[in-house]
Every structure is written in C-alpha cells, then in structure tokens.
C-alpha cells in the first residue's frame, strides 16, 4: 500500500508527532545504553574517562539523530533509499582508496571529529534499499528469478566491498540482514532452501580447499575458525581471547562478582574489554541475572520491531522495521554467541553497549527509521 492510497490526514503531522513516538522503545534503548555506560565506567577502573563519558555524548547525539529521523515522513526516506545506498557504496569505495588502516583492516574514514565506518552505514542503507525495492516491486513478481537476482546484486556489491577491507563479520551481517529482508518480503522458501544447501556446500568447499592452491579464505580466517572449534588448542595464542572470555563469563555465577569486582577484566585478562568483549565483563560482574536481563532487553527491542511491523500496512515501513530489528538482533546474537564460544570471533560489537561511535549512531538512525515507520503508519479510521 502506498501513501497515496490512505488518508494522509490520519497520519500525524507537525510537532505533535512527538506524542506518537513509541516511548517504550526509546526507554528500552536508553536502558541498554545505560548498561553500556555502567560497564564502560567499570572497565575503565571506575572512571568516566576514557570511555563512559564520550559514549554518553554519542548516545545523546544518537537520540537527537533518532528524533530527527523519526520526524521526517517515511515516504521521504523511501525516496532517499537509493541515494543512501549509492552514497554508502561510494563511501565503501572511498575506504578502499583513502581508508585509514586500523587493527589490520581498512574500515574507517577519518572525518576529523569522528571515524566513520561506511560498512556500518551500509547495514541501514541496504535494509532501506531492499525495503524500497520490494515496496516498488509488484508483489506477484517477488519470487520471479529475474526479480530475485536484482536484490542479490544489491546485496553482493557492498558484501564484496566489505570483504575486501577485509571485514568478514560485517560482510556476514550484511548477507544475513539482506537475506532476512528478502525473506520477510515474501521470496519463496525454495530460494532459501537452495541457499542453505548451497551454504553447506560452500562450507564444505571452504574446508576442503584449505591448503590447496584455490584456498577460499585467508590463513588468519582459517585460524579463527580453528580457534572457534577448539579454543583449547591454542590457549595462549588466538584461542586466548575466547578462553579468557569464557572464564570471565562462567566465573560470574548466578549473581556475579559485584560491580567493578570482576578480576578477569580488572586484571586485563580480557581482550578488547571495552568493545567486542564488553559482555563478558557484564556477565562476570552481574552474573547470570545481569547477562540474562540484558538479553531480555534486547529481545524486547526486537519484539517491538516485529509487533510494530506486523501492524504496519505500509510495505516499506514494515520491511524497514523488520530489517532494522533483524540487523539489531544479528548484532547482539552474534556478539553474545562469539563471547560464549558458540560462534567464531568475527569482530561484531555488542549494540549500544560496546564503545564505538559510528555503530551507535548508525543504530540510532536505524531506530529513527523504525520510529518514523511507527509514527507515519497508515491509519484507516
């Protein structure tokens, strides 16, 4: 359904829109961000510097961005989807040529006041692009092979560019995020069955190609997989991170060791304790209760997105909401699975909690879209 078809007057407009904002979602997001501030304060040894305070400022900025995005009518965002997508692709290309090398991967463009990760931006832009595409596409053609290939190309371009950086984690998130949008848009089950079968075949190919001349992944990527499958095989090398992470998590017990009492993080046994592995500090200091509570908050946010989407008769709005929610889900699920030893270490931050500017800003912009879809949803009566 398009906006031209329903009574635009029923859609809130003007400053009064603020009242239609979904405040519980903002509350959930703020709660998660607050957990992040607390943990960043803790891992800095009880100090706002160097992480907690900048993170607060960014969150404030993010909330402002969310409001701004939410206030803009959704159809404008739909019309800008192509621009956002093209812009992100160009930025990814720019990273390819001018990117600053950090942590062995070219991921950033230094804007002076912050480092921009175009691959983060792409996560939202891709969701917008695909949602707009399926909004435009006649729904009867959704599963037509020709119209399936087009979104696959839309996904493949940024995935290729992020793999070049190389950033396997983000590439996987893009593939899965894009795939989920295609799934909820109604692409036939058969395609997904084929992809899953192909995926299994690919995994087999990846493993069987190891050490041959047509080796598909880089050596360090294979090592990460090895480490994931058996962290104990290399406890002081690549497996060190995951082993220490699991020790921290497990030693938390039911109620944890207490705020700022986590020995694993305080004594630096944990790697990347303020970014990718921040969940382990939470789990160590607040135990199962703390860790499970954060998981519940995350699930609540995703659940809100799903509920909101199913009640939204605007196709673009529903798909964007589901896409953003799914991307958010993938973030925290992959991160948590990674630190708990259920997934390989791929460098995915814990959303809204890990220290990091562009990821937080991009997510808040994404939730701005969700809010916009919520505010500007069609109302019949």
């Amino acid at each position: 359904m398009s906006y031209l078809e329903y009574n635009v007057k029923r859609v809130p407009s003007g400053p009064g829109k603020v009242l239609y904002l979904n405040w519980p979602l903002l509350l959930l997001l703020s709660a998660v961000a607050a957990v992040g501030f607390l943990m960043l304060y803790s891992v800095a040894g009880g100090s706002l510097e160097p992480w907690a305070e900048p993170q607060m400022k960014r969150f404030a900025l993010g909330v402002v961005a969310m409001f701004a995005v939410a206030m803009v009518p959704l159809w404008l965002w739909r019309n800008l989807a192509g621009v956002a997508y093209l812009g992100s692709v160009l930025l990814l290309l720019a990273v390819e040529f001018f990117g600053t090398t950090g942590m062995g991967a070219q991921r950033w463009i230094d804007l002076g006041f912050m480092r921009l990760q175009p691959s983060e931006l792409m996560k939202i832009a891709l969701v917008m692009m695909l949602a707009a595409y399926y909004d435009w596409l006649d729904i009867r053609k959704t599963s037509h092979p020709l119209w399936v290939v087009l979104p696959l190309i839309l996904i493949a371009v940024p995935v290729y560019l992020t793999l070049r950086q190389p950033d396997l984690g983000t590439a996987l998130l893009l593939v899965m995020g894009g795939g989920i949008v295609m799934f909820v848009a109604g692409v036939s089950w058969w395609y997904f069955g084929a992809v899953i079968a192909g995926g299994i075949g690919l995994v087999a190919a990846v493993f069987s190609s190891r050490g041959t001349s047509w080796q598909l992944l880089k050596d360090y990527q294979y090592r990460r997989i090895d480490t994931f499958l058996d962290p104990a095989s290399d406890p002081l090398g690549a497996g060190y991170h995951i082993t220490q992470s699991k020790i921290a998590l497990g030693s938390g017990g039911w109620t944890g060791r207490g705020f700022m009492q986590g020995t694993q993080s305080r004594l630096n046994f944990l790697p990347e304790k303020h970014t990718d592995f921040i969940f382990t500090t939470l789990a160590e200091e607040f135990g199962f209760i703390g860790a499970f509570s954060l998981l519940a908050l995350y699930v609540g946010i995703v659940a809100f997105c799903i509920v909101s989407a199913t009640r939204n008769r605007d196709r673009f709005g529903a798909l964007v909401t589901l896409g953003i929610g799914a991307t958010f889900f993938l973030f925290f699920a992959v991160n948590m699975a990674m630190v708990m030893g259920l997934a390989p270490v791929v460098g995915v931050p814990l959303p809204l909690v890990s220290y990091g500017g562009s990821a937080m800003l991009v997510l808040m912009v994404g939730f701005g879209l969700v809010q916009s879809a919520h505010i500007h949803r069609p109302r019949d009566r």
């Binding site: 078809e5 220490q244 497990g250 499970f292 948590m336 259920l342």
Partner: protein
C-alpha cells in the same frame, strides 16, 4: 507506486506470516543464548571460578632463614649475612645500557656481571627486578642510594646469604652452601618446592649438607594477585615459613683456630681432638684449608683450579677422609690383643736383634742394630718392631683385628661430615674377598706394626686413644644440640678388656712421652698434673726404608702421633697425621703436644708447660702462628 487494496492485504498477510516465522526463529536463537548463559554461569560456574582464580593468583615462595651453626661456646660459625645487591627494573630504567653505564661510573662492576645481568634483563618481563651485582659492601650500596635520582630504575636491595665468619677454619667440618644446581636436583630425592627457587642455597658438603634438612626450614608463601601480564597487583596473604633449626657443634672455635694454624706450619696435615669423657670432637683440623665463602659467592674457575690442582689437597677433610697406615700407633692394640689372648705378660722379654727372619724374608726393626731384650713397656717406649713381629706370630691376625675393631679401627663413624672413611682393618676373609689370596704370616707381621693393609683415619686414631685412656667405647660426636635441644649423651659401655691390661698399655704410652728413652720424650709436657701419654708412628709409603730428606715429598713417610692427657685424669685425646712429614717423633709429636696443651689450658698455653730448653723455640713458633685475635687472647671463654 500504486497498489491495489487486494495486493496490500496480501502483502500485509505475507509480511505478518514471515515476520512471525522470523520472530520465532529469533526467539529460538535467543533461547539458545540464554540456555548457554545458564549452562556456563550456573552449571559450570564453579569450574570457571576456579580457572579465574588460577589466572589471577600466583604463589611465590619465601625462602626461610637458614639455621645458624655455633661452636660449643656459642660462637657463630655459619650465619646469614646481609647480601647487598643492586637491582634494576627495566621499565623504570628506560635505556638499560645507559643506566648501567652510569652505575659503573659510581661503583666497580666487572664485565662478566654486567653481561650476565643484560642477558637476564632481556629474558625477563620489564617490571621484574634483575640483580646487576651482589655481595657488595655497605659503602657501594650507600653510593647507589645517594645517587638514586640520577639512576632511575636502579635500587639497592638486601637479601640473606650464607657467611662463614671464621673463614677457612671450619671449611672442612661445616662445608659450604651453594646455589642448587640441576645436578643436585637430579641427585637428591626431595620435592621441597624451595629447591625450585633460582639460586636457592643448599648445603653442598660437610655439616651444611648432612644437616640440610634441619638447617633449611620450611618454605613460606606469598599469595599475590597478578594481572594478565604477570605484574603483581597486590599481596593477598603471606606465611613466612619456618626458619631452619640452629645447630650447636661440639667444636671449640678457639682450639680449632689454633689447630688449623699450627697444622698450617706444615705442608699437609690433619688433627683430631676429642673429649674423652663425652666423645665431643672439639677440633677437626686440616691443612691446607680454603675459604668456604668463595664457594657461596660462586667460585671463579681460576680459584677452583688452584684448589683442585694443589697437591696438598686443600679441599679434602683429611682428618676423617684420609686413610693412612697407622704405623707404630697401632702397636698398643697388638699388645692388648696379645695380653688378652694370654700370649704375653707384663714382664716377659723378647730379644730384638734388628730383624725377624720369616722363611727367606727378613723383617727389619726400624733400629738396624736392634733393641736387645725388651719387655712390653720398653717395646712401646722405644717402638721396637721385632717385638711385634713376634706377637703377631703368637696371636694371629684374627685376634688382632677383633681387638682393633673394638677401638674403632675399620669403623665408619656416623658423623655429619663428607666422605667419612672406614679405613681398613684387614683379616683373612677380607684379603680373600679383596685379592682372592689367602692370608700370609708376613701380612700379620706387617699389620702388627701398622703397615701393609691396615689403614686408619686421624679420627679413628683419636677414638682409639680416647678408648685406651677411658677403657670405654667412647663414640665421637660433632653435634651438641639441634634447635636448642641437647642431644643426650649415652654413657659409653666399658670395653671387654681387663683393666690391668689397659693400664699396662697406658703405662707404655706414658713412657713414650715421659722417659728419656721414649720416642717422644722431646715433646713432653712438664707440669706433672698435665702429663701426656702418647705414641709415635712413622708409616712408610714405600716398601724400602729410605732417608726422608733425600726423596721427593710424595715419597716421604707419614708422621703420626696419638696421645691423651692428663695421664692421671684423661680429658682429651689427640691424633695428628702429617702427610709425608717424616718421623712421628720429630714431626707429629710436637704438633700434638701444642694442640693438647691448648686444649687443656683453653687458650694459648703458658711457656712453663714446655721443657725449659724448648721454650724459646715454642715462643718463636707461637709468634709465627696465623691466629685470630680472640684465639691468641684465649682462656677467657668459660670452660663449663
């Protein structure tokens, strides 16, 4: 794009359906995450908690203070001295080489030490203190401390290290400690974690080695929290361990000092002084000696080569390790065996014509012209060999050996010194086992004058003298108390010999030292209350009798003397062996007398204890002795 209401409915239905599937899958995955959290944090929490504790807590051992060793009067013989060190912490020093170069402008450090330190620094974490140099003087440490602002990362430090204040006097008795080596670890069955501490000092020889268990004490421990890089964050708790037990030895440091100094006037000699009543060894002297402190510090290759290459064997504790033919000092035991067997009486005389003929072989007396008719007392007084050749044939080796063993010859005494020898008291079985040959009468003749197969240590000779003097089986001992607890004295059992026989032997020994014809008359003691009874011995190293002044040192005879005094109320037994020293009467007897007099006086003896003619010579000799001041003053120590 315009879309029909029908399509919109279809779209919404499809999206809702797919969203429900997506939500369901996501919920399942979230469930897996929650289940995993529960599994790790609830079910396996204890196991992970343990791993976390292992991560952060390190146990560092604390070396206990080693037990001290004192002499019988409480004078420290082995103590733990402050070991001043200079240490460097790399991360504080910055440029390590420059820092050490600045340090070397202030105090002298040799190149080897610096090289060793630099290698150590490169191996260790930047925050670990590494010793640059140790065993420094207080002055050096003060210089480093005063210049601390100019020496970032370099600090003076103090630890404990073994020190032997009396230096070489007790080198052989107490031995020395040294850093535990891989060789030690392989050799000793000991799982004491202390041995894993780098450079931990353990006893290598002597009392230090034999009483290692008591002296060492038990390890203390410090539980410390470390971070991932191993840096110490804080100490959680500590247990200082139990210091080692102190030992008190039976030796008298003054007498020992005198003994060592007196022996050092010769080339290679040893002496043992034993308390006849208790068996306490009051001095175990060896010459030459060495400084055990050099071994504690880590002896240089050149110094060690000097010690091992020295033909006078400074490292050997000859007093207990040396096995020498006892020579004529053995004759008392042969006499006693003959008396006990009823083959000899006090008045019987035997004719000495200068030799005894056995088959085609002649066994000579040391006096070519012979002694004429000699009785028991005269045979000892003049050390007539022919008399003993006769006794040997009458008594036989078995009974001689039995008697000698009762006096300690051939017995390995259980004393805490290294390589205490059993010597050899041969008999028929021994020779058959050792050489596969039967015992010959000639062997008995040789044994009767303490030659041939018989070998004994100075310790055994002192025990023999003490047993002759007391008539009891006195046991030698070296340790008086452990950790303040006196080791109880067991009263020595009387020897199975008739007192009147023993008295005859003693009378003979008295004559040796106190009658004009006695072989040791020149080394007599004048005051009647202190009269000495002794016996000279000259044991051949070669079978041919030669003039000692004409052959190289190694081929000269060993000079021996055994004695006890006072004759009437025996208190000390002394034995002296001068290796290749020539005649027992000329070389060994004067040394034994001097040591005996010192022991009896508890200090440097007055000159009037000596025969008038000797006093000038003795005075000059005293002046030449290399004594410690306290020893020279002497006498002030309690004689309790």
């Amino acid at each position: 794009m315009k879309r029909s209401p029908k399509d919109t409915e279809a779209s919404t239905r499809l999206v809702t359906r797919r969203a429900a599937v997506l939500g369901g899958v996501q919920l399942c995955l979230a469930g897996v995450l929650g289940w995993r959290m529960r599994q790790m944090q609830v079910e396996q929490a204890d196991q992970f908690r343990l791993l976390a504790e292992e991560n952060r807590i390190n146990i560092r051992l604390i070396a206990p203070a080693r037990g001290l060793i004192f002499d019988r009067n409480g004078t420290p013989l082995a103590e733990n001295a402050q070991n001043y060190r200079v240490v460097i912490v790399r991360e504080d020093a910055g440029d390590v080489e420059a820092a050490i170069a600045r340090l070397r402008q202030l105090i002298y450090i040799d190149d080897d030490e610096v090289e060793r330190a630099l290698k150590e620094i490169s191996r260790r974490s930047p925050f670990v203190p590494v010793t640059i140099t140790e065993q420094r003087s207080w002055d050096d440490v003060a210089i480093v401390a005063v210049n601390a602002p100019a020496l970032p990362g370099i600090t003076p430090d103090v630890g404990l290290s073994r020190h032997y204040p009396l230096g070489q006097d007790f080198a052989h008795v107490i031995g020395y400690v040294g850093p535990v080596s891989d060789y030690d670890l392989g050799r000793i069955e000991d799982d004491d974690p202390l041995l894993q501490i780098p450079k931990f000092q353990i006893g290598k020889t002597g009392v230090e080695q034999k009483y290692e268990h008591d002296l060492r004490g038990s390890a203390g421990a410090r539980r410390i929290e470390v971070n991932a890089a191993g840096r110490v964050m804080r100490e959680l708790d500590r247990d200082d361990g139990v210091p080692g037990s102190d030992l008190q030895l039976t030796v008298d440091s003054g007498l020992q000092n005198f003994c060592e100094a007196r022996l050092a006037l010769g080339l290679s000699a040893s002496a043992v002084v034993m308390d006849i009543e208790t068996g306490d060894l009051t001095a175990v002297g060896n010459a030459p000696s060495f400084d055990p402190n050099k071994f504690v510090r880590g002896i240089s290759v050149a110094d060690y080569r000097d010690l091992t290459g020295n033909k006078y064997r400074p490292l050997a504790n000859k007093a207990v390790q040396g096995a020498y033919p006892p020579g004529s000092t053995f004759k008392m035991l042969v006499t006693l065996a003959a008396l006990d067997a009823g083959e000899l009486n006090a008045t019987e005389t035997i004719y000495c014509g200068g030799f005894t003929k056995l088959g085609d072989r002649r066994f000579h007396c040391w006096k070519r012209g012979g002694h004429g008719r000699v009785n028991l007392e005269q045979s000892l007084q003049q050390s007539c060999d022919v008399f003993y050749y006769e006794l040997a044939q009458r008594v036989g080796i078995e009974r001689i050996a039995e008697c000698a063993r009762a006096f300690g010859i051939g017995e390995r005494f259980d004393l805490p010194m290294s390589a205490v020898t059993a010597g050899v008291m041969p008999d028929m079985d021994w020779k058959r086992d050792r050489y596969g040959e039967s015992w010959k009468v000639g062997d008995s003749l040789n044994a009767a004058i303490g030659q041939g197969f018989v070998l004994s240590s100075p310790l055994q000779l002192a025990v023999m003298s003490a047993r002759i003097a007391s008539g009891r089986a006195v046991m030698p001992r070296l340790v008086k108390s452990v950790d303040g607890v006196e080791i109880p004295l067991e009263s020595a059992a009387p020897l199975p010999f008739r007192p009147e026989h023993l008295a005859l032997i003693r009378k003979g020994m008295y004559s040796v030292s106190n009658t004009a014809r006695g072989t040791a008359f020149r080394s007599r003691i004048e005051p009647p209350a202190l009269k000495l009874a002794g016996k000279t011995g000259t044991s051949q190293v070669r079978s041919v009798v030669v003039d000692n002044s004409e052959v190289p040192w190694e081929q000269r005879d060993h000079a021996l003397f055994v004695a006890y005094a006072p004759y009437d109320t025996p208190r000390y037994a002394v034995s002296v062996v001068i290796e290749h020293g020539g005649g027992g009467s000329s070389a060994a007897a004067p040394v034994a007398r001097d040591i005996m007099l010192y022991a009896l006086h508890g200090g440097l003896p007055p000159l009037d204890a000596y025969p008038a003619a000797d006093r000038r010579g003795v005075e000059e000799m005293f002046a030449r002795l290399d004594l410690r001041e306290t020893t020279r003053a002497g006498g002030e120590r309690s004689r309790a």
